[in-house]
Symmetry: C2
Subunit: 657 residues, 2 copies
């Protein structure tokens, strides 16, 4: 549903105009458009592709290089067996409802959400409160307005609806079915009755090999490949704990009915970290001190279960101290996620961390927080950060027998007092014959408590009697010449444990889209002139080179500037089209290019150029070396435009058209 | 089959020892290993992943940035309709033979190749010629030796076999079936009869959406997405031709029986360029002059068809001039491919360009050359470079009606003399009634020759008679009050054409593997000490930091050096394990790390460090600033080790263990 948003300049945000810009400038486009498109699939064009590459590059520096994570690239194709073990075959599903008459299929939770929100809106209108809503795609708006019935609701009903919406992610299929019955939720277009929700697995299926005998899936996350390689990664890391692996790659979800543009797609780029940590000792993180004062907006699960959504600004150090966030390592990553999002230009005031409610969280998870970004579609999960406990490594170890564990020498060997049993093997065979092994196993399996009790029996009665199902009448007597039971001390030098996993998981496409919403605004003097104010580090192109005209005198300067910028590693583009300077700069404002160089007749005379700042449209004039130095500083973040403008002589004129 | 190779140091190359190194150091590992693996699927571990990322990064600079290509990122999921139109549904297939008794499946061309090569080897042994063969994995060798029958062949048969092998890629299924019959080729393990070759489509199939009604595939190449977006890309490029799009991403082929490790896999990273060029004017390239003197080793199709494989060293300028290479644009890219491969460290003497034979080439292609790299598996196609003509854009345009064409104003408008037909529409309807449209269409379709002839009839007889199948008896008379035929001049101001496509297509995984083979050698003094001599730009890690011991005095220096290197953008790793300095350097020789810094007790005293060169194992000693400057120069390629060694004082000692 639409959420009213404001742009940097205080004007209301208009999604339709941003989307039109993004498609016109080929940030993205529906895939297979000339074939009619496929819902939930989008291609990235040159600026979208460069934006994504730059964000991934910063991600790699911020996480992988900074902390020496072990980056891996595992396959997308995944055999059935692996995803059966991980639980995805059985549980990676959404609830869908079919309209038996029209054949239409709805995602149950989205349908409930949509219908209740629409009723709340109708209620507001009925009460004469103007529903806050930004301007929308005219086509969509028409459709939506039609389906909103202007009906007043009881105060109690309004409260019920709001509470349901606050915990919409907390319902299972059965509960959604009950809600649909209770609130009479039907096909919004036809008012047709819907069948009860059934589970639909979201993985794309295929088969591997020529004889079609190996069923497989496209991975729904990059995590499993990292878990399966745990042992080799630990070995690569020279057995040193804690450590993290990381992976950047495509994942796939066969969404029931994709909507919300780039936010809900069937194929998407993920960047995931699996941080492996010792479960003992409180999951401390060695660098937690560096981030403990980072402030986050936290929305905890109790608040949500009470049907509310208010956040609390909390230092992460405090949140861990009070156990609101389960442990240091989880807290460390929440803070690092916040810093990453700020670094790439996400609006700080539009970030919150929402804790998962109990039913929403996987049953094995200890704690889970989503970094949500506020967009015109509402708060959108863009990064998940879960403590997955030892679940994944344990299930794969159990299934395959591979030792997905850490073995470390104990500094102080562990002394264990225990009742040990010795068997006189030579006599054991002859006495019990073919049952020997069974009896032996039954003895080995005796608990410490039983062993203690039996040691007394042995002393008193010279024999023990134990239960051995399947041998004789199920009771077996063992005399004391065949067995000894004694309390002894065992020394354990090696500790073996299954690490826990903290998993920060980034949906890059969603972050890219939210970033565009946060950085989009229109010039006050002209609503049609859109600007994307990306920070220079993430901007698709850093510099636009604009010769005043196609005059041949300008050509050598274009080449010199391009080469110089390439030498200092700055991406530039030349626009020598016939359009006016103003039009050419407008086009590049829309592409988010932060800087522009104009080559004019004065350049030909004295080899000076003007440098233009996208956001202020102010210009300075200087020599080629000074211009390049300023660009390098701006792109690397060592200078801001204000510094450059204060340093170099201003230039007025030219950009009128 | 195995191909004897020599390492840089002149010693014979041993594939088994390189593969063991690459798996031990986690360059790659079989995917899902703990589940028994899936053939044809491999994961890249940290060094393999970093190596790939660095190569992709250089690729992007060498091609995309250098020539302002439009990079796009299209989806892997592709609907049936698109791949039906492109021809992949019908033709993207290999020939497979089944053994009806055992159920085993063979790829027909590979089986013929393997059996004939094995017979040739048996013949050599029978003639007492020692078969040249490098040392192999002992397990494999045993198996292979077993299957080689030592049988002498007639000279004529040997020649036949060699000719077949030289053109093995030129046979279709029927021809392969005939070869198998003629040369009695059966299941090598059981000698069981095989069924004739049948076609097996290599695309992985899936279905998109919840109702399973949209069949789709995983793309077999990244090209189609680029073609479908042609119109938008041309618009983005402000209608300017020629231009290229580019794409880096995963593609999939369901290989019949993957073998040869990383060289034949089911999921792989591709980097593809689609360069769109005007088919008129000889497909000139504006920058061809820059590369015309680049020398390539060319193996042309006539030589191959004659059953030979000798190459000719040719300047690309000459090759295009003599039409051996079809046009400048194709030639330009062949040279740029050569330069790219050299830049990343591929051995220049192990590159050749092989022209496709007629049957091997897609029917629409004008010319096609593969850059092949010599490995222990023989010459392997690593880059394809095809002139795909206007095929792809034409078929998609025909299917969808989207105008995948270039429209450009003519500098000199075209004057076309032609016979034009005018119809008196008002009278036409009443006379022909329901057949009006059909008759009109038949008239519009008349050729220029017929129009000229009919204009005479009209003048002489006052009417014309034309064939209109399906109307009356198929002959229709049109009187001269309904029709005029006149010769007139038409002026065409806009030229419309479908661009041709030159497609350089890179298999990144194959290049990575060949690069490893080309850069692998073992130290003369110790065969077990492997080294991977990657150039610093592609090396996974640039610098290893080694404190002499875990003494706490060294710790602050480790931190300072790491931070300094991070500041100058150089990736480093610390090895503070307890192992000896020598062992730690050996490990990093295997990882291909070009430089190492040792922190010893003298460092603590005077803040100097030693810098070690991987390839020579020589060391210099200098201050931290001088060391960092040298590293920066070496990594950026502005200095070679010899320069640094000449400049800074040598250091002897330490590396004994």
């Amino acid at each position: 549903m639409a959420h009213p948003m404001t742009m940097k300049n205080g004007q209301p945000f208009d999604r339709a105009s941003l989307e039109s810009l993004m498609k016109r400038r080929l940030f993205y486009t529906p895939s297979f458009d000339i074939y009619g498109g496929v819902s939930g699939l989008y291609d990235y064009g040159p600026p979208g592709c460069a934006l994504t590459t730059n964000i991934v590059d910063i991600w790699r520096k911020h996480f992988v290089l900074k902390e020496n994570m072990l980056e891996v690239d595992c396959t997308i194709l995944t055999p059935y067996e692996v995803l059966k073990t991980s639980g995805h075959v059985d549980k990676f599903a959404d609830w869908m409802c079919k309209d038996p008459k029209t054949g239409e299929i709805f995602r149950a939770d989205h349908l409930v959400e949509e219908v209740l929100e629409s009723r709340l809106k109708g209620n507001k209108e009925a009460r004469g409160q103007k529903a806050e809503e930004e301007k929308e795609d005219p086509k969509k708006k028409k459709k939506k307005v039609k389906s909103i019935a202007i009906v007043k609701l009881d105060d109690a009903v309004v409260q019920e609806y709001e509470e349901i919406l606050a915990k919409i992610d907390n319902y299972n299929g059965e509960e959604l079915g009950l809600l649909m019955k209770k609130y009479d939720i039907k096909n919004p277009a036809t008012s047709g009755e819907l069948l009860p929700p059934v589970s639909f697995n979201l993985m794309f299926q295929t088969s591997i090999g020529p004889s079609s005998n190996l069923p497989g899936y496209l991975r729904p996350e990059t995590a499993q490949g990292q878990f399966l390689n745990f042992q080799k990664l630990l070995e690569f890391n020279q057995q040193s704990m804690p450590f993290a692996s990381a992976s950047i790659g495509k994942s796939f979800r066969n969404e029931i009915s994709p909507r919300s543009g780039l936010l809900r797609v069937r194929e998407f780029l993920m960047a995931e970290i699996e941080h492996f940590v010792d479960p003992e000792g409180g999951k401390k993180h060695p660098r937690f001190d560096e981030v403990k004062d980072v402030e986050l907006e936290l929305l905890n699960r109790e608040v949500q279960l009470a049907g509310k959504t208010q956040v609390e600004t909390t230092k992460i150090g405090k949140a861990v101290e009070t156990s609101l966030v389960d442990n240091e390592t989880l807290g460390y990553f929440l803070a690092r996620i916040q810093l990453f999002l700020e670094r790439i230009g996400v609006d700080k005031s539009k970030i919150r961390f929402r804790q998962h409610m109990a039913n929403e969280m996987a049953h094995y998870a200890t704690d889970c927080w989503d970094a949500e970004l506020l967009t015109s579609y509402g708060w959108i999960e863009c990064v998940g950060c879960a403590d997955r406990s030892a679940y994944d490594l344990s299930v794969h170890m159990k299934k395959t027998g591979a030792p997905l564990v850490v073995r470390e020498p104990r500094k102080v060997p562990l002394q264990i007092e225990e009742w040990q049993v010795d068997i006189e093997k030579k006599k054991f065979g002859p006495k019990f014959k073919k049952d020997g092994k069974t009896v032996e196993a039954a003895i080995e399996a005796l608990s410490q408590e039983l062993r203690e009790k039996l040691s007394l029996d042995l002393e008193k009665e010279g024999k023990i009697t134990i239960d051995v199902p399947g041998v004789g009448d199920g009771k077996v007597e063992v005399p004391n010449d065949l067995i000894t039971i004694e309390k002894r001390t065992r020394v354990e030098n090696v500790r073996e444990y299954t690490p826990n996993v903290i998993e920060p998981s980034f949906g890059i496409g969603r972050i890219v889209y939210a970033l565009c919403e946060h950085n989009y605004w229109t010039r006050a003097e002209d609503e049609a002139r859109g600007v994307l104010s990306f920070p220079p580090t993430v901007a698709p192109t850093k510099v636009l080179i604009v010769p005043l005209s196609s005059h041949s005198d300008f050509k050598p300067f274009v080449r010199t500037l391009s080469d110089k910028l390439q030498d200092i590693g700055v991406s530039s583009r030349v626009d020598d089209s016939g359009a006016s300077i103003g039009k050419r700069y407008s086009r590049n404002d829309e592409l988010g290019t932060p800087l522009g160089i104009t080559i004019d007749f004065q350049s030909v005379k004295d080899n000076t150029f003007t440098l233009r700042d996208r956001d202020t449209t102010r210009q300075v004039r200087a020599s080629v070396d000074e211009i390049c130095k300023a660009i390098s500083n701006l792109v690397n973040g060592t200078e801001q435009w204000a510094d450059v403008a204060a340093r170099l002589p201003a230039f007025e004129g030219q950009e009128v058209d």
